[in-house]
Structures are given as C-alpha cells and as structure tokens.
Amino acid sequence: MTAVDTPAAASALDVAAVRADFPILSRTVRDGKALVYLDSGATSQRPRQVLDAEREFLEQHNAAVHRGAHQLAEEATDAYESARARIAAFVGADPASLVFTKNATEGINLVAYAMSNAATAGPDAARFTLGPGDEIVVTELEHHANLVPWQELCRRTGATLRWFEVSPDGRLDLDSDPITERTKVVAFAHQSNVLGTVLPVAELVRRARAVGALTVLDACQSVPNRPVSFTGLDVDFAAFSGHKMLGPSGVGVLYGRQDLLAAMPPFLTGGSMIEMVRMEGSTYAPPPQRFEAGVPMTSQAVGLGAAVDYLSAIGMDAVEAHEAALTGRALDALAEVPGVRVVGPTDLVDRGGVVAFVVDGVHAHDVGQVLDDRGVAVRVGHHCAWPLHRRFGVAATVRASVHVYNTPAEIDALVDGVRAAQKFFGVA
C-alpha cells in the first residue's frame, strides 16, 4: 500500500515535461489559485499535440470520409482509417474489429440494441437473440453506462438481470456468482470508476465461456491508464471513450470480435453503413462500416489517434507506474487523516488511480466545495455508480483521480484540503 511498491519505470515519465504539453494546467481558478486537476476519471485534459492534430486536419484535409472521390476526401479517409489502425494497435486488436462511436455509452448500447434487433434480423443473427428465461449478468460496481443499457435490454426482451456482489473491501465477490446455463451475456468493468478495483477479467471470461455467454468489457477506466490488449484478454466486446485518455470528447470505440460483428445486425442506420438501399428494404455493409451510420466524428478520431500516439510515446507501463505511485501516496496520506474512510481497496494490488472516500461528519459536496475553493478539482456524488454507493451505505463520496500530468505535490494539496474541510466544518 505504499509508494515503495512503485516500479522503477515511474522514473520514465517526466511529469514537468508532460505538464508543459497541457495548456489548461497553467490556468488558475477561484481568485488566482493554481489548478490542481484531480478529476481525470470523469474526463482528462488534452495535450497540445492532440489539439494540433485535430486542427491540422481541419485546416488542411477536412472532408466527408468514405464518400468523396476528390483529393481532400482521400486524405480525410486516410487520416480517419490511419487513426483506427493506430488505436487498434494500442488496444491489441485488428482495425476491422474497431467501431467508432460517440462515447463508450453508445458502444455498450450498440451491443445491447443489436441483441434486441436480432429478434427480427433473420437467421444469421439468431445467436444474439434473447428472451424470457435468458439472463444477463453484470456487477454491483458498474457505472450506469454498463448497467442501465442491460436493464433496458431486459425490458425489451423479457430477459432477467443478475449481478455479482461487491465485498466490504471493495473487491468483486466471486462467490456471489450468478452465472448459469441461462446466462447469455456477462458485462463488467475492467476497473471500477469509484473503487479503483481492477476486476479479474480472465476468471470472468473463463466462467462466461464455460456457459457459452458473451463477454462485454467496460474498458473506460483501463485503456487510458495501463497497457491493455483486448485480444489478450479474450473478451468478445469492449468499449472505451476518447475523452478519458487525453483525446477529444465525442469519440469512443467499440471493439468486437470480428466473427461476432460480422453476424450482428446493425444498430444506427442511415448513410455509409448500407450495401444496397431500395424503398422496399435495405442490406448492410460488412463491419466496421455497418456500425458507423452517418458522417462520423472525423476530426475527433484523428485527435484520438494523436492521443494514442502521445500515450504510446510515454509508454503505458510508465503511465501505470506513475499513477500507482500517486495512488499509493494518496492512500497512505488519507490513512493518516482521522475520520477519513476510503471506499475501495486500501492497497495497490489490482487497483488503479481513482480514490473515493468519505469524511465523517462532512458531506462529500461540502468537502468538494472546500477543495474547489483551494483550486483542487475533484468529483463529488455517486459518480454514476449509484447502486455501488448504496451498497456501501453512502449517498455520495469524494473522488480524486489521476493521470499522467499529476504530481505528488497535487496529492498533498488534496490531503491538505481534506484536513481544511474538517476544520472548516468543525469535525477536527
């Protein structure tokens, strides 16, 4: 649980040099306080390399992709597909298995809707159909984005939702396993956006496979922060968002095993995803085009490609080590503050860089306000994981989350701020 555990690779990340790439980090807030941005778990900031890549694209190559026969359209298409290829390499996947979406939420909804669409999509799609008696398994720690779409899929199809529970130390309770022969989908986060817990993906995939269920990985809190290979993890689907990994908002990725994507009915329909359209009916293009209806988020894909290049240049091992060091420092320091309780694992084993906590006698919103007043930006509330908060008997937590640009001094500012909040509200 201490900073001593930090791999040597952490030294590979020159945080001062990194910070210089992020224009927003030099601004001040609340009457001249330096910004201490500890809310990257909600959305990260963008380095100028990403901003420049998007701008260069828009000032030189912008056109509708896959649709035009002029030079700009060629260049735009190349930039878009090159981004897909680089992002695919970054997550250990083939470019043809990557679908661009607007965010991870859309990616998960895409899978859920394709499954209900399977009911009317003919024999190829039969393996995706669900009905009464079938079950979908999630976990109690899911972000709403990987919970509500499955609730709604159950509503549409008559299937039943089941879930793994969470143990008091913030780990997945593998003994609460609801997977049975009726299970058709097992959807789970790679890392909790509240607890920081990294889930045992291999074990969950093994159990899902054993009953022939499909696996859907919510990789929003893993792809930005450590080396991830979807083919290595052997999941069937995975989703993540650009804005949490130094890339633009408005772009996300759904990964799908190619044989599954090829058999899956479309979700959004319209231009660019068709094979043949008649008034009487239409047929659809092969993946990934089948799942990219309409003019896509072109410059955003280009920006995400640049973000992946940026992260790769630092090295994802170094990113992981850097965040582990900061997390260890935060866990150690918060453990020293009486009345502060971390919700989630208190050591660094299978744990990423988000730290949620409660302060006895001071509501999370009030802690956050004191922090904000000192320039420290954290998130307060249920962080779109309301059932998890209910399970821990709290309405809201304070969550600090780190990325490549954070420093040990910023962790110290957080802890100082927590003490100041206790003092302000008279509980210490």
């Binding site: 509501h363 999370a364 919103h365 009030d366 306000q369 007043d373 309301w386």
Partner: protein, 160 residues
Amino acid sequence: MQLEQMYQEIILDHYRSPHGAGLRDPFDAESFQINPTCGDEITLRVRLDEGKVAEISHETLGCSISQASASVLTDLVVGRSVEESMRVLTAFQEMAQGRGQVEPDEDVLGDGVAFAGVARYPARVKCALLGWMAFKDAVVRVSGDVPGTAGGTSDGKDAT
C-alpha cells in the same frame, strides 16, 4: 477565501441544528425528492390548517446547504398562508437561480438571504432548492394545484 461568502454563519447554524428535522405525525402530504447528481434525499411532510402551513417536518440526507435550506424553509413558511408561502418560494428560487445577479429581499426571505452566495455556485443550487421543491410538491399533493407560482420544476432544469 470565498468560502465564507457561501457558508455564511446563518447557514452553518441552521445546518448544525436544523429546524423541522425529524418526521412528525399527523401530516396531510409527504414528498420524497432526490438530487440525481449526488444522491441526496429529502422526505418532507406538510400539514395545512385553514389555508395556512401549520407544520413542516423533514428528514434530509444531504449536504450542509440542503439541510440548512430545509431548516430555513421551515422557519419561513410555517404560519403563513399557502399563497404567501408560494410567494416566498418563488422569491427564494429566483435568488437561488440568479447566478448572484438577483438582489434578495430580506423582508420576504429573512434568513433565506444567506443563500445568495450559493447562487454563484450552479452545482449547489439544486442543494439549496431540494427542500423547497419537496414543499411545493407536498402542497400540490394536498391541494391539487399550487396557487401563485408559474412552472417551477416543469422547465426540466430544476426537477429533482
């Protein structure tokens, strides 16, 4: 430090010993409201008597602002006619949503003027209004309609 502008002593006092806290019987209507971003909750009961607000009681699971606001609400509306209380509510809401631009009227709002500082923090406006929305909802449940207000939660922004 701007904190003191927001957390005025009056607010902290109400927060430490909130008026109307603890649910009481009998009551005419009860309203349960939540703040979907932070999960804060209030259960508020109202008892009317001959067109007047006879009693308010509430159980608030929330931050200092939402607790203090429910307390101030209790002070401001108990004993008033329903119609008057709705005028106070409107004034409070206008101040809270005024981004610090609305000058509150102390004659109408009493201790409520202390929440003027909260109005400059948009994320906290919902906290300040949680109890008030519960009050309004409870009154509607008793009387079927709310005299003297227009819209309120129906603009989709402040519904809880």
